[in-house]
């Protein structure tokens, strides 16, 4: 590759993201202190309420990340023919956001199941929110699998972008159908999901946790974005090397 491409590709750490990284670690440490020690136990849920400081911010981040994936996918489809970089910037953004989204959806499911075990007495309830979340998790795992396949990068990115859009449109369909399923046939036999009102210290802890998790997710996304760019650069160089070696061989044989 030319030297300009090289100088454009930074390592994954820059001074700015180093500051962000240190901030993320400090914010997480403070979040642990607040969530595990300083905030009080809940009157009804007891200590289990501390799980919500991870669970609730995680699903918010996950949803935010999937929204970002969809928006970037639209921008990619619009930019791919017009912009000089063929919209690769938006494609990388979509990919890194989806991956971070999947990580935090996984965390949501794990913390939710543990919370459910102590609060409801069971890891899993077939309610609308849980069922939608697990389908969401699998959907975006599929999206990441599609992105990882060996194929022409532009073809793969285009298909992934369309998939991201359809998947996003599908989220409310899945949610409402599962919601109907549980409300039409089960006459309020389970009153799951009725989370008690939270106020005071718990409220502030939850709000702060959301901020801390957002910082961590942002850091992760920026780094993942840069790694995707490095991966693309490596693939391009490998391709260029292959082509030049072929050309040399052809010259030799002729």
């Amino acid at each position: 590759m030319t030297s300009t491409t090289r100088s454009n590709a930074k390592m994954t750490a820059t001074p700015a993201t180093r500051v962000l990284g240190v901030l993320a670690i400090a914010a997480t440490a403070l979040m642990a202190v607040l969530g595990l020690f300083i905030s009080p136990a809940d009157v009804i849920q007891g200590e289990a309420v501390r799980m919500l400081y991870l669970h609730v911010p995680s699903i918010w981040i996950a949803y935010g990340a999937f929204v970002l994936t969809s928006v970037s996918s639209i921008l990619f489809l619009r930019a791919r023919k017009r912009r000089e970089d063929q919209g690769r910037h938006y494609d990388r953004l979509a990919g890194s956001a989806a991956e971070v989204g999947v990580v935090f959806t996984g965390i949501t499911l794990i913390t939710g199941m543990l919370w459910g075990k102590v609060t409801w007495g069971t890891y899993w309830q077939w309610d609308a929110r849980l069922t939608t979340t697990i389908l969401l998790f699998v959907t975006y795992l599929g999206y990441l699998a599609l992105r990882r396949l060996p194929a022409d990068p532009m073809v793969r990115s285009q298909r992934a972008a369309v998939m991201a859009l359809i998947s996003f449109i599908n989220v409310p369909i899945v949610h409402y159908s599962v919601d109907w399923w549980r409300t039409l046939h089960q006459k309020a036999s389970l009153s799951v999901g009725r989370r008690p009102e939270i106020t005071g210290e718990m409220y502030w802890t939850l709000l702060y946790s959301t901020l801390a998790v957002t910082i961590v997710a942002t850091w992760l996304m920026i780094h993942r974005y840069r790694v995707i760019r490095l991966e693309e650069l490596r693939d391009e160089e490998a391709l260029a090397a292959l082509i030049s070696s072929r050309l040399k061989n052809d010259d030799g044989s002729n």
Partner: protein, 231 residues
């Protein structure tokens, strides 16, 4: 581009593509010769899983039917695109004057016919093996049509997504099942009502499947072009 799209006879092109797919399928006889018997085997295996408990089978017949359709349908979808990519037909389509919307509709129509046939075989199998009684034939028929339309449309959309990729045999089900989940849910519930196992909401579920089919048709008409494009 826009104007040309409206001037071309979409219906004629759609039928042309569908006829081509069905003719290829008729010659190869994979759907009837391999997929339908396999789907029947699934019914037998599901009876093993439920210990051939006749009341359980009767209760679950609606859901088990759609699970078998999912399995057989996925194979048919896979095949519908393997036929194209193996011989480089996709390039031919891109070169031809046939528009992406017609191609999408044509392939959906062909898949609808094939999955419909598969369902006829499966339905007969379930009626005989699981000892079910139909209480509402109209609902059963409408729900089957709604589910099959939704299934075919989603199938074509996701089939082209994984077409030509190296690990598509495993990728397609992974991508497809989360999207088909609401259809399976709605189809199972509607069938349970039609089979007299549940007393409620069968028509609501049937109409939900039409809504899902309509949404995915709209997406397919808009997005199929993007999925066909090469770099």
């Amino acid at each position: 581009m826009e104007a040309a799209y409206w001037r071309t006879p979409v219906l004629a092109e759609t039928l042309l593509v569908a006829r081509k797919d069905l003719r290829v399928e008729w010659r190869a006889k994979v759907a009837l010769g391999q997929v339908a018997p396999l789907a029947l085997l699934i019914l037998v295996v599901l009876a093993f899983a439920l210990d051939a408990n006749s009341s359980l089978l009767e209760l679950g017949a609606g859901g088990l039917y759609w699970v078998a359709v999912l399995y057989g349908g996925t194979l048919l979808i896979q095949r519908s695109f393997d036929v194209e990519t193996d011989d480089g037909n996709m390039d031919a389509f891109r070169m031809s004057a046939i528009g992406a919307p017609s191609l999408f509709l044509g392939k959906s129509l062909a898949l609808f016919v094939q999955i419909g046939l598969l369902e006829l075989v499966l339905g007969s199998g379930i009626a005989l093996l699981y000892n079910v009684r139909v209480t509402d034939w109209v609902l059963l028929f409408v729900a089957a049509v709604a589910g099959t339309v939704a299934f075919s449309v989603c199938g074509v959309l996701w089939g082209v997504m994984s077409a030509g990729l190296r690990v598509r045999a495993t990728l397609l089900p992974l991508l497809l099942v989360p999207v088909l989940a609401p259809i399976l849910l709605a189809g199972s519930r509607a069938f349970e009502t039609a089979l007299g196992v549940r007393a409620d909401a069968g028509w609501t579920w049937a109409s939900l499947m039409f809504v899902i089919a309509a949404i995915h048709t709209a997406i397919g008409l808009g997005a199929f072009g993007f999925l066909l494009e090469e770099g």
